[in-house]
């Protein structure tokens, strides 16, 4: 693909938005295994196992966030990662 489609990602905790922006890929761990999401993914609603969520940005750098007891929803190239407590891991 000439023009790489991007995902709009937001990581949301109960009391604030942790991170949001454009990304190329999101890798998260659900209760039944790791899931990788690229642009054009079918809509998914999954329960996250506690662990890290890796977001690969358009320039190839990676943002890592830890999210506990949350879930992930994907639709129309929009990825929302929701967790009671979430924070960025640098």
């Amino acid at each position: 693909m000439a023009d790489v489609k991007s995902l709009a990602v937001s990581v949301v905790a109960a009391d604030h938005e942790v991170w949001s922006g454009e990304a190329r890929q999101v890798v998260a761990r659900t209760t039944i295994g790791e899931i990788g999401i690229l642009a054009g993914h079918e809509p998914v609603l999954g329960i996250l196992a506690s662990g890290q969520v890796r977001v690969t940005l358009l320039d190839g750098s990676v943002v890592t966030a830890s999210a506990d007891d949350g879930f992930l929803s994907v639709q129309n190239d929009t990825v929302t990662i929701v967790a009671g407590t979430a924070h960025l891991v640098s």
Binding site: V12, D15, P43, G46, V82
Partner: protein
Amino acid sequence: MGAQLRVYRQKIRTAQTTKKITRAMELISASRIQKAQQRVLASAPYARAVTRAVSAVATYSNVHHLLTTEPENPTRAAIVLFTSDRGLAGAFNAQVIREASELRTRLEADGKEVVHYLVGRKAVGYFAFRRRASERDWTGGTDNPEFGTAQEIAAAIVEKFIQPTEEGGVDEIHIVYNRFVSMLVQDPETVRLLPLEVVEGVEDPGTEHVALPLYEFEPDADDVLDALLPVYIESRIFNAMLQSAAAKHAATQKAMKSASDNADKLIKDYTRLANNARQSEITQQISEIVGGADALVK
């Protein structure tokens, strides 16, 4: 006569000191409203995401969940009452407590037994004074609610709801809290939290989004709903706590403003009276001197 003047001056000083305190409290709560409102706003993306997800599962799966099914014959209900830890907020606590006791009367008229969960020292004090029982209470931190507390409350009430009625469980859960409408208006609000009425028109499909997409569920719809509903309840409770905190600061500001205004009025009135007393004291002294001089001349 001098004594009266002294009394008035003392009262003026008292009012002035009180005014300084109430003015300071007014300014403090004015700045806290901002912060509390920002926290309400900051929690909005979370609440929105959770609500969307719950309506998506509810729309696209015919799952009957324990938390959404109406009990056939409800006999016991719980009220979660959100008040503040501190007073000096006008009718803030009184109105929400009144709302709760009206709800209690209504529920009892329907033949339901009512148990209470209390949040905030004011509700606890009210119940203790009247020797009423409460199931559980949480105090401290109502000014600046933490998500952990919301999770604790949610866990406690969900556990109670899941328990069979015969073993002391409840069939319905209502929450009563002050909603922050504006700086001037805080409305007590009653919401039935459980059993859940999912798809509350929060994210009405068909207006903004053409339709919710056909989701793939991981692991499956049942499990997703199992995990989502408690989260949804947590977010509703957290929202109630944040609203209540913002409303409390607004109510305090209003109450303290009118206290300061009243102090101003008192100071004005007493100053008038003091001037009057001083003047009549002088008048009397003059007439005494004149009278004395007259007596000496004769």
